[in-house]
Amino acid sequence: MTAAVAPAQPSRDDAVLDISGLVRHFTGPAGTVRAVDGVSLSIGRGEIVGLVGESGSGKSTVGRCAVRLDRPTAGQVTINGRDVTRLSKRALRPLRKDFHLVFQDPSSSLDPRMTVGAIVGQPLRLHRLASGDALRDRVAALLAQVGLRPELARRRPHELSGGQRQRVSIARALSVDPQLLVADEPTSALDVSVQASVLNLLADLQRERRFGCLFITHDLAAVEYLADRIAVMYLGQLVEQAPAAELFADPKHPYTQALLSAAPVPDPAAQRSRARIVLSGELPSPLDPPSGCRFHTRCPLAVDRCRTEPPALRWLAEGGGRRQVSCHLVADDGTAPDASGRGAAPGAPAPEDASAR
């Protein structure tokens, strides 16, 4: 599954996070759920990588394995050049100040019994980086940095609004100045205008502090806004990876094409003239993923080869070798088929396709 490291991909030593051949299977009474099945991904210093996928794609499991809240079944997770895959809980503890995560739902990720100040200060306390008055000052400064009034330190999470809670969660994650931040759907539980302020906040903080960030989301607009590079997951595997602008302008994998075409854009004129690829069938069960290419059961372009031979995630020559795709139908030079059945490249304006919806 692992491909050779290409020029634009941060090299192993340079990467804040390097995941290679990550596998996470959950064994239960019904069989083995292959949640993540061979994912390789690298994040450079100060880079924001978006991990996009629908529910059941395994993107959150990748995030949890990356910060070792979950133990990979196989593969390797390297943070700052150090292999953390097999480290024990105890051995990991001192390392945890280098990586942190922000959860999706701020109402469940903050202990309801603790004050905001205690929550934000906990990492500092546990890593013995501050105590007493120094701790209080650091907490006040952190709250100010995420745009909260310092007196909120005495409140408890349920007294705050959803947006404020997510800011608390971000302040906690950044309190020890980690070099890697995993943000698992940090805005999906929030309202539109609050989402905007949390996205802005993440962008601002990232610009100031230059931490590497794995931004996990199903929200394509948010990921396009924030991420430098985007990886797309389907059923436990990466299907495509590319710089954000290139992925949106010219998606290669039929699944990426379908995903982008299905996400409605907030512009009536543009939205109604877009061609939409409606996928047939259902998401197959990760208990028994399809043979060959995992997307072949729903792919409008699937051929016999797709049903038997799993495609490798390989680098394309196009665009200076910064793109990766796993599809038999995409040529090495980047020539990709069009899942919408039109001649023009998807994403390019096609005036005649109003009828294609």
Binding site: E54, S55, L143, A144, Q145, V146, G147, L148, R149, P150, S161, G163, Q164, R167, D191, V192, S193, V194, Q195, A196, S197, L199, N200, L201, A203, D204, L205, R207, E208, H218, L220, A221, A222, E224, Y225, L226, A244, A245, F248, A258, L259, S261, A262, A263, P264, V265, P266, D267, P268, A269, A270, Q271, R272, R276, V278, L279, E282, L283, R357
Partner: protein, 412 residues
């Protein structure tokens, strides 16, 4: 689009919903009015707690007894406010139906889906078991469920989320209701599944002429299928317009803020902090009071003394109101009208889309930067906007007719 002469399928006038508990009174909906014609899709947009779901629950007559409903809800000439439960039961399902965000909780887990669809038909149309079963299969086919005859024998847990939502739609339209209320029908679904559900709704409107009230917070969904949009804020309707006009030229500052808050394709944050998403400073007001002022005033950068003293009604704006001289009854009528509840509607600008909000409003970036601690959350709102408006030369330049504006926040 609809002709404005036909009577509306559903007409809500001055609707108010008040929840009373021993400890507090919540004005969930306050003086809301809208019409929807057959074959029309009206999107009701707003953030959580704005009253959009309460409105539709009130229309369905499904509010708990702690709620008191005022105003008028007319469904095809029949008044629903004050109607007794038997009358409502008769209307529900037959003339008006509703689908919810989470289809699993609305389906009975121990009955096959064919049976559940058929039962609605038998209850309302008094047809036999065999005929009901056949019609149920037809309905499942209509909502795009593949192999409907076999699927009809499945139980809800055997279906995916998208298929369950299709079943809910099939149940809702079983008796061919005039109005379908869809409360966040795709929020719990993945985008590729959402696309399918939106197509089903689209085809219902076209094939059956169902009027659809679509409640959503997703502006992309609105852009996709709505004909007209009603924007709600803190229990009140603040703007109503045909969908294209609303997106091109939002007139209420809240609508404008909401549209600016959504990332749009092709727009990326810039390394230097430009291209920021627009934020709306402050927090949603408490609904425990019913102030006689604009409820958005504490968070609005356009607000002046009048906004804090008198409540603006939702009234039609003059078409292409360049001069922006307060209210003027528009020439357009009915569903074509563009209405806003604002004393200072944002002027229409020629080509808005070429000027992304954040890039243009450098002051905005300055306002909501991380250095300024209160910016994005301070509950007093007024103090934020006061702070912001001090640094707003470009905004003032856009409104030469309101030179006094920046100073007014202090008064509020």
């Amino acid at each position: 689009m609809t002709t404005s002469t036909a009577p509306p399928a559903l007409s809500v006038r001055d609707l108010s919903v008040v929840f009373r508990t021993p400890t507090r009174v919540v004005h969930a909906v306050d003086g809301l009015s809208y019409d929807i014609a057959a074959g029309e899709v009206l999107a009701v947009v707003g953030e959580s707690g704005c009253g959009k779901s309460v409105t539709s629950t009130a229309v369905m007559g499904l509010l708990p007894p702690t709620a008191s409903v005022g105003g008028s809800i007319r469904l095809g000439g029949r008044e629903l406010v004050g109607a007794d439960e038997r009358e409502l039961r008769d209307v529900r399902g037959r003339e008006i139906a509703m689908i919810f965000q989470e289809p699993m909780t609305s389906l009975n887990p121990v009955l096959t889906i064919g049976r559940q669809v058929g039962e609605v038909l038998r209850r309302h149309q008094g047809i036999g078991r065999r005929e009901a079963r056949e019609r149920a299969v037809d309905l499942l086919d209509l909502v795009g469920i593949p192999a409907p005859a076999q699927r009809a024998r499945d139980y809800p847990h055997q279906l995916s989320g998208g298929m369950r939502q299709r079943v809910m739609i099939a149940i809702a339209i079983a008796c061919d209701p005039a109005v379908l209320i869809a409360d966040e029908p795709t929020t719990a679904l993945d985008v590729t599944v959402q696309a399918g559900i939106l197509e089903v709704l689209q085809s219902l409107r076209e094939r059956l002429g169902t009027a659809i009230v679509l409640i959503t917070h997703d502006l992309g969904v609105v852009a996709d299928i709505a004909d007209r949009v009603l924007v709600m804020y803190a229990g009140r309707g603040v703007e109503q317009a045909p969908v294209g006009e609303l997106f091109d030229a939002p007139r209420h500052p809240y609508t404008r803020g909401l549209l600016g808050a959504v990332p749009v394709p092709g727009r990326r944050r810039a390394e230097d902090g430009r291209g920021r998403l627009q934020e709306i400073p402050g927090l949603v007001p408490s609904l425990t009071e019913q102030p006689d002022r604009c409820t958005f005033q504490p968070r609005c950068s356009y607000a002046d003394a009048r906004c804090g003293e008198r409540r603006p009604a939702l009234r039609a704006l003059r078409e292409r109101d360049e001069r922006n001289e307060g209210y003027e009854e528009g020439e357009r009528s009915g569903t074509e009208r563009h209405e806003a509840a604002c004393w200072h509607p944002v002027p229409v600008r020629p080509v808005l889309s070429e000027h992304p909000e954040g890039a243009e409003r450098s002051d905005d970036a300055e306002c909501s930067g991380t250095e300024r601690s209160e910016g994005a959350e301070c509950s007093e709102g007024a103090e934020c906007s006061a702070e912001c408006s001090g640094a707003e030369p470009s905004e003032s330049a856009e409104h030469p007719e309101h030179p006094e504006r920046p100073g007014q926040e202090a008064a509020s």
